[in-house]
């Protein structure tokens, strides 16, 4: 049962921003509502108004723009999962989307909503970090972009001001000879550990490794120190470093003990998934079939 609220339905970003400005904290943007409505049913959040942004054409649609994928904020996980464009050019993103929660949540939940709600146990943010994705934030003044990495502030907390709206997500294409892999792991409904790795490599030559970890810490984050350990190296050296890198990643992940498991175990799992993800990504990178799979729950 939901506490009562009124509904606003702007049809343009401009209109939506005006409503944001007028109602401030007493109103909340509403897209898929999969997370928002749950917490409202629990009585944890009460708003006088929900601002439904699904009628705003500018927020819809996906397109390739000079190699980068432009994703409208109200694009659902299912759309990502099933879009031929995404499947062809960003197969790992499509695979990841295909394993978000369950099909009903994917049908309704939006990428923009997922990123803005910033529930720590989520998949998309982690993977998109290794693509150096960015978000477009509209204000009455105009729109500015922010690196996704800066967008995540804390659990349920993002760098989105009360008078702003996230309009789109931009996902740059991976460099040549690069493959990304997303592995997640968990026993409960929500993932406990998510590790994304993008590897740029030629046979036996690892040029660049990008690593992001999610679910474990307060927010998804890039692990640049760990990336440094593995980049610009010959394969044998990288393999020899993987255990150390895994350990470092584990501690850098800032895990806490909770219902998903002990901090110790989660830190360890980060290392395991990192090693497995690296091997897969490397193999694909040198085979030249970029992208590949984000694997589902418990199939690490």
């Amino acid at each position: 049962m939901l506490p009562p609220f009124a509904l606003e339905e702007p049809t343009s970003v401009h209109e939506a921003l005006a409503l944001r400005a007028r109602y401030g904290e007493t109103a909340c943007l509403y897209a898929g509502g999969t997370e928002l409505l749950l917490t409202m049913k629990e009585g944890l959040l009460r708003y006088e108004r929900l601002i439904n942004i699904k009628l705003i054409p500018e927020l819809a649609g996906m397109a390739l723009e000079d190699g980068a994928l432009h994703i409208g904020a109200i694009t659902t996980h299912r759309m990502l999962e099933r879009s031929p464009v995404v499947q062809r050019h960003f197969p790992t993103v499509a695979e990841m989307a295909a394993h978000v929660a369950n099909v009903r949540v994917r049908e309704v939940g939006t990428l923009g909503g997922n990123l803005c709600f910033a529930e720590p146990h989520a998949d998309p943010g982690t993977l998109l970090l290794v693509y150096d994705a960015s978000v477009a934030l509209a204000q009455q003044g105009g729109t500015h972009t922010l690196a996704l990495e800066q967008f995540f502030v804390g659990p349920f907390e993002v760098a989105l001001a009360d008078d702003e709206i996230l309009t789109a997500i931009r996902v740059p294409a991976l460099p040549a000879h690069t493959a990304a892999v997303y592995l997640k792991y968990g026993l409960l409904e929500r993932p406990s550990v998510g590790v994304a790795v993008a590897v740029t490599a030629l046979p036996d030559q690892v040029q660049e490794v990008r690593i992001a970890v999610g679910c474990v810490g307060p927010t998804p984050r890039r692990l640049r120190d760990v990336e440094g350990l593995l980049s610009q190296k010959e394969l044998p050296e990288v393999r020899a470093t993987l255990d150390a890198a895994g350990a470092l990643a584990g501690s850098a992940a800032d895990a806490v003990t909770d219902l998903h498991g002990s901090a110790e175990y989660k830190a360890y799992l980060v290392g395991v998934l990192l090693r497995r993800a690296f091997e897969r990504a490397y193999q694909q990178a040198i085979r030249g079939d970029v992208g590949d799979t984000a694997r589902g729950r418990g199939t690490a």
Binding site: P3, F5, L37, L38, E48
Partner: protein, 178 residues
């Protein structure tokens, strides 16, 4: 608490008039913006085939098809059904002629207590419209969000695989649609 009630005060008045097609029948209903789809279906329209269990989009008991897409009625706002075609379990059979998925569930023991069955069958319908010849792995992946505590799933999986084969045989699965 008083501050919360103040909240309501400002919000309660609004009523939305929506047009929705439910199981092929057109309805014009007045709803509050905060009414959930399951409240509309069960309490206002009296279609109690849609079941409520976990109330957090995990179990799938309240699965209904909105324009053919599976959604959790428990955590969806009723106004989202505006101008849409809604299919609940009551609308799946054509009178006394059951849908092949319903028949398969009966023949292969895909149900016991029956509480998860409406959602299970509707999710299976959405799956088979999207992927008429799924592998067992594809069925498992799609149906992961529909829980059953009685059957152990084996016969649900069988039922869906059999229904898929039967639907493939009937040249135009569309005829069974509402």
């Amino acid at each position: 608490m008083t501050d919360n009630r103040a909240h309501h005060g400002t919000a309660t008045g609004q009523v939305l008039s929506i047009h929705v097609t439910v199981n092929g029948h057109a309805h014009d209903v007045l709803i509050e913006p905060y009414l959930t789809l399951i409240e509309l279906i069960r309490d206002r329209l009296g279609l109690t085939g849609t079941k409520k269990s976990c109330d957090m989009q995990v179990c799938g008991a309240c699965t209904v098809l909105l324009n053919g897409r599976p959604v959790s009625a428990c955590t969806m706002l009723a106004f989202e059904a505006r101008h849409a075609s809604l299919l609940t379990i009551e609308g799946l059979a054509q009178g006394e002629a059951l849908h092949p998925i319903q028949e398969a569930f009966i023949e292969h023991g895909g149900l016991q207590c029956g509480f998860c069955t409406p959602g299970m069958i509707l999710a299976a319908k959405a799956l088979l419209e999207e992927n008429p010849a799924p592998t067992e792995e594809e069925v498992k992946h799609y149906m992961r969000g529909n829980l059953c505590r009685c059957t152990g799933y084996k016969r649900i999986l069988e039922s869906i695989m059999v229904a898929a084969r039967r639907l493939a045989q009937t040249h135009n699965p569309g005829v069974l649609e509402t």
